[in-house]
Chain length 323, copies 2
């Protein structure tokens, strides 16, 4: 698709000079056409690798949106440019933009140094996490210093989305009842920094202690113990410390090989998904759809030839070539 390629190059230049509409069009392009057919990642790669990519997750009601809001404003006050991608994997219909969310987004969207965008599963080609990864790369390439990916819950797709991040902030609150259970169920492993929001509510101390205890007991934990911070997003209390802790954590990951290890693993996975899709579309599907395949299939369907032996032959040829 040379047409798309040209467009995209031009949009990228415009996005890099601060044109938010151009950024929006690039992300919409990825949502609609996917990453693989239009060589977008090829064009973006040279421009990426600078942004700190932070995943933010937590149960509904934990106050993610409000806290994200305050964090964005803190970082802007420190001179950073911040991109926010709000992902709602469970809702194919709302586009992840319920009313309250829209209000907030309009608020942040007015700030020059902020780009904010919601993504849902609607119309994504090649999966939400791949589209999300593409959107992060676009914001990275357009000079956003910090990119936040905000998502709800701890399902399979949320974990896949959090894999796009360099490090993950998990938000919980006292009084959700099963908040600790919810964290046990999978978020404990992916969290690098934990925040107990609504710290002035009764039980906040206890929630924090329980969380700390669970982290102490977790055998899968690396040498670095994730910090647990208490904040109140509503009262803007402790948000700066949380932001600083995240950046300090990022700094440690960068100094040790942790960041490189994570990006290595992520890139391998993305390349595999990319190549699998490309080989399917450009090699395998054309073989099956070719006119010359008609002779084969007639032999197969009369059971005089073996289709799986034929397929093995094709795969062996490919294997031989790549060795």
């Amino acid at each position: 698709m040379p047409h798309n390629t040209v467009d995209f190059q031009e949009l990228l230049v415009r996005g890099q000079s601060g044109d938010k509409r151009a950024i929006g069009r690039m992300i919409s392009h990825i949502e609609t056409y996917g990453l693989t057919e239009n060589l977008i990642m090829r064009q973006l790669w040279a421009h990426t690798g600078h942004a700190v990519i932070v995943g933010i997750t937590g149960a509904p009601g934990a106050g993610k949106s409000t806290l994200t809001d305050k964090m964005v404003k803190y970082w802007i006050s420190k001179g950073y440019r911040v991109g926010v991608i709000a992902v709602d994997p469970s809702s194919p219909f709302t586009g992840g933009a319920i009313l309250g969310d829209r209000v907030r987004m309009n608020d942040l969207a007015l700030i020059k140094e902020v780009y904010i965008r919601s993504m849902s599963t609607r119309g994504q080609l090649g999966g939400l996490s791949l589209a999300c990864s593409g959107a992060v790369s676009i914001l990275d390439a357009c000079g956003y210093d910090i990119v936040l990916i905000e998502t709800v819950g701890v399902g399979q797709s949320e974990v896949a989305i959090m894999n796009v991040a360099d490090l993950v902030l998990v938000i919980t609150v006292p009084g959700l009842g099963d908040e600790i259970q919810a964290i046990k169920a999978g978020v404990l492993e992916i969290g690098d920094v934990f925040a107990v929001n609504k710290k002035d509510l009764p039980g906040a101390d206890r929630t924090s202690r329980e969380l700390q205890m669970m982290l102490d007991m977790n055998p899968n934990m690396g040498e670095r113990q994730p910090p647990v911070l208490m904040v109140s997003a509503e009262k803007n209390d402790g948000v700066g410390d949380l932001c600083d802790s995240i950046m300090e954590n990022y700094g440690c990951m960068k100094e040790s090989d942790e960041l490189l290890t994570r990006r290595n693993r992520r890139l391998r996975e993305e390349l595999l998904a990319y190549m699998q899709d490309r080989v399917y579309r450009r090699v395998l599907a054309p073989v099956i759809e070719a006119d010359s395949f008609d002779d084969n299939i007639n032999g197969f369907l009369s059971h005089s030839r073996n289709p799986y032996a034929w397929a093995e032959e094709i795969v062996s040829q490919i294997e031989e070539k790549i060795k």
Copy 2:
């Protein structure tokens, strides 16, 4: 896996001589290891293509189990050997075998000319429809003249399962309330024969007429109009006519090119899925995991080399080879 290959060949010989335990072990093998790694389809292909593969679907409560039961017994009385695969895609836990089902299955399982087996999504490698397709091939290769695939409802996975069949019987009943709606939602297109079960219930005639009308109006219908038959599975009334109608339909499909067209389309899809999986495991994953890839990835992660350009190169090499 030469070990598996040898085992399977021996099991196949035993299954072909009527050993049901050997058949069960082959199907379990496919459930556990998938189709692609053990060349099972290669060994089976020469022995398959004889069975009439009938999909049976309908809403819960339509009486599928009872009707299937009676159909199996009718066909046995006509000298056929019949295999039944009861698929429950929605239940990963029960193994598709709720209590009533188990009773029924034990009943049929005692008959020498019948093989009956339930499959669920539990532990399937490569998807339920692929495993189901493998099970059908095993029964076909072991000399079952008719293989029935019974499944509930009309979701995406059910439609994929019905794609394994040569032709599909859709069962409905009067008084389910939204039975016509349910049919509208997707089954109308995949049905080759329709049965209105519980024909002595009030409203059965109307259900039949409405169904007929919808089939008349459907613009996607081919030249052959699917028959709508009224039966009572409970009273064993009309079951023979239904079975005969299915076989007559199959005969027409075979005489026209319809059967060949369907099997052609199905085989292409299966080959694509098979090759995609093989290429991923034997070519792409090894490339990414090779020691020599470490040099590449260091260049990628420092953003001095472009991983997507590298991936395109690999894909181009494969494409070149296969041309």
